[in-house]
């Protein structure tokens, strides 16, 4: 019998990202540890100490300094990456906007964790969702394998000349970061060939071609900078598709803007990010066995938001539930809900849409929770009426 898992190994999400960083061998990594992403930098610092990489590892005194050092190194022309979570990302806040505004292709692994208060170290998406307007491309990952694959692709997307924007690769704290799962690793040479050498066109240490970064721009030019940045973000969508396709061609695992699961003939669907999509797939298979037409849409690229493609994928369903592992605290559903619902507005015949907030602070989301949402959706599809537009589940 063929061993299906031949060539695979078992790694946690954090170990896999540290390994990807080793293979990428960035010029600079500036980091400050925070649970649950600590092991990434811990493992990577061993690679540095063992001489497995040439990276200049800068240990700083805060995440604000970590991102500041990343920005400085990127301005000097280096390939730069780091990792963080929750309060760490929050402390980077003002620097996130500077990284994207200066168009530095920095890559960060954000291990999703709830924001204080009350203090909590477990998974939800409040951290990265809060950064959704900071001008960073965001990729979300369901499994250890996808987190690893996304991290390698992130380098290519960020450094593409048509893009030149920082990328945040998000995956679930503890659920993915601390769980060992089967993973197929690429060879070092495959990774290095895929990402290529980083040769920035403009950088501060190029003394033959002196330039300025971070100059004052007032009413005369600021909006033009932002317009260009916005256009670059729009272009990032096509680049993400190209890179995902090329990755598939090279290594057999193709990635797109989103993953759909049994959605083609579905009457109702759940839209959900990251690891909980896997649990939802098990619920879908259960219901399909009973002849129920249910499916899933799992966005992979959240920034730029592929609104047309998502609307197109959902145009034939009668009712859709958007599950957010973060609340916008705006009184009207989570960030994913708002964006998907807005995307659907352009359709001539729109599905009914409901918001469900789940799993905050690491609260377990089980198959039965998905089944309950599907039961609500079935009722809505049959009656055309939405009884409860928004609510918290897994309470």
């Amino acid at each position: 019998m063929a061993i299906m898992t031949k060539g695979q190994t078992g790694l946690t999400g954090n170990t896999a990202i540290a390994y990807a960083m080793k293979q990428i061998n960035p010029d600079v990594c500036a980091a400050y540890p925070i649970t649950p992403s600590t092991a990434i930098i811990e493992d990577f610092s061993s690679y540095v100490a063992d001489g497995a990489v040439d990276t200049e590892l800068i240990t700083v005194e805060s995440e604000h300094s970590a991102m500041s050092a990343c920005i400085g190194a990127a301005a000097a022309g280096a390939r730069v990456m780091t990792a963080t979570s929750a309060q760490g990302l929050a402390l980077m806040w003002e620097m996130l906007y500077i990284a994207s505004g200066m168009r530095f292709p920095i890559v960060i692994a954000n291990v999703n964790r709830a924001l204080s208060a009350p203090i909590n170290i477990h998974c939800d998406h409040s951290d990265s969702m809060g950064a959704r307007d900071s001008g960073w491309i965001q990729l979300y990952s369901e499994t250890v394998q996808e987190a690893y694959d996304n991290f390698i692709q992130a380098v290519r997307i960020a450094e593409n000349e048509k893009v030149l924007l920082p990328v945040m690769v998000c995956f679930d704290g503890f659920i993915t970061s601390h769980a060992i799962e089967n993973i197929s690793l690429l060879d070092d040479s495959e990774v290095r060939r895929f990402i290529g050498e980083y040769r920035p066109k403009h950088y501060l240490l190029d003394t033959d071609n002196p330039i300025t970064y971070g100059a004052m721009t007032l009413q005369d030019t600021y909006i033009e900078f932002k317009h260009q940045q916005s256009q670059a973000m729009t272009r990032a969508k096509d680049v993400a598709i190209e890179v995902g396709r090329e990755f598939g061609k090279e290594f057999g695992r193709t990635y797109g803007l989103m993953e759909t699961y049994r959605l083609d003939d579905a009457e109702v669907a759940i839209v959900i990010l990251n690891s909980a999509a896997g649990t939802t797939k098990v619920a879908v298979d259960e219901l399909r066995k009973q002849g129920k037409k249910v499916g899933i849409l799992r966005p992979r690229l959240f920034r730029p938001f592929p609104f047309r493609e998502i609307a197109d994928a959902l145009k034939n369903v009668k009712a859709v539930a958007i599950l957010d592992r973060a609340d916008s605290m705006n009184g009207f559903g989570g960030p994913l809900f708002n964006e998907v619902r807005s995307a659907l507005y352009e359709l001539d015949a729109r599905p009914r849409v409901i918001s469900r907030i789940y799993g905050l602070g690491g609260r377990d989301y089980k198959v039965k929770d998905a089944l309950e949402v599907f039961a609500d959706l079935k009722k809505i599809a049959e009656t055309g009426k939405v009884e409860t537009l928004q609510k918290y589940i897994t309470l």
Partner: protein, 192 residues
């Protein structure tokens, strides 16, 4: 529901149950299975009750929720019985493996499983580990006991995996001690 084997490990921090779940996961993966191995997520403190989990399947595992209804329960520290909810969520045909010098019959009654269908196995894993590894490391003999009691992982697979994956980390003497501990756990476990 999908066809999974689910395992829950109970121990106290520093007794090695997280490592045991890791080693079991690696050995199952090597035998061609899809696996998950994860600790109970949280800030750990030495001596505090700790749980670790495995899922093992012939198919890729998509579930990412906690393990709450494990068929296999391994208890590295019997003082956790009555404290850590070791029987919580277990099915009728559950299999318990306990590190203790007491008999399976005694432990069955301590677990509140008298007259129940569940199987109870015991071995003195602390003593075995002291004699083979030279320190309290009950997780290693318990892996051997699991191979005997459960049948979803072969003792050979556990041993081969350990020899190959840990040769760089441990000295040959430590590897030998651990292999001996697994073999003795396999041989000495008793059940009813």
């Amino acid at each position: 529901m999908e066809n999974y084997i689910e395992v829950r490990w109970h121990g106290r921090a520093q007794q090695g149950v997280v490592t045991a779940a890791k080693v079991l996961g690696e050995a199952c993966l090597r035998s061609g299975k899809y696996v998950q191995a994860f600790p109970e997520f949280g800030p750990e403190r030495m001596g505090a009750p700790v749980r670790a989990y495995n899922r093992v399947s012939d198919e890729p595992i998509r579930l990412h929720c906690q393990v709450t209804e494990p068929r296999y329960v391994l208890i590295a520290d019997p003082t956790l019985i009555g404290v850590a909810g070791v029987t919580d969520g277990t099915p009728e045909d559950a299999i318990f493996i306990i590190n203790t010098h007491k008999s399976p019959k005694e432990m069955r009654s301590e677990l509140g499983l008298a007259g129940k269908k569940a199987k109870v196995y015991t071995l003195d894993a602390s003593k075995i580990s002291l004699e083979t590894i030279g320190r309290q490391m009950p997780n290693t003999p318990m892996l051997g006991a699991l191979a005997r009691a459960a049948g979803f992982i072969a003792i050979e697979a556990l041993i081969e995996n350990f020899k190959e994956n840990y040769a760089k980390k441990f000295s040959p003497r430590v590897i030998e001690g651990n292999v001996e501990a697994m073999n003795r756990g396999f041989k000495e476990v008793e059940g009813e």
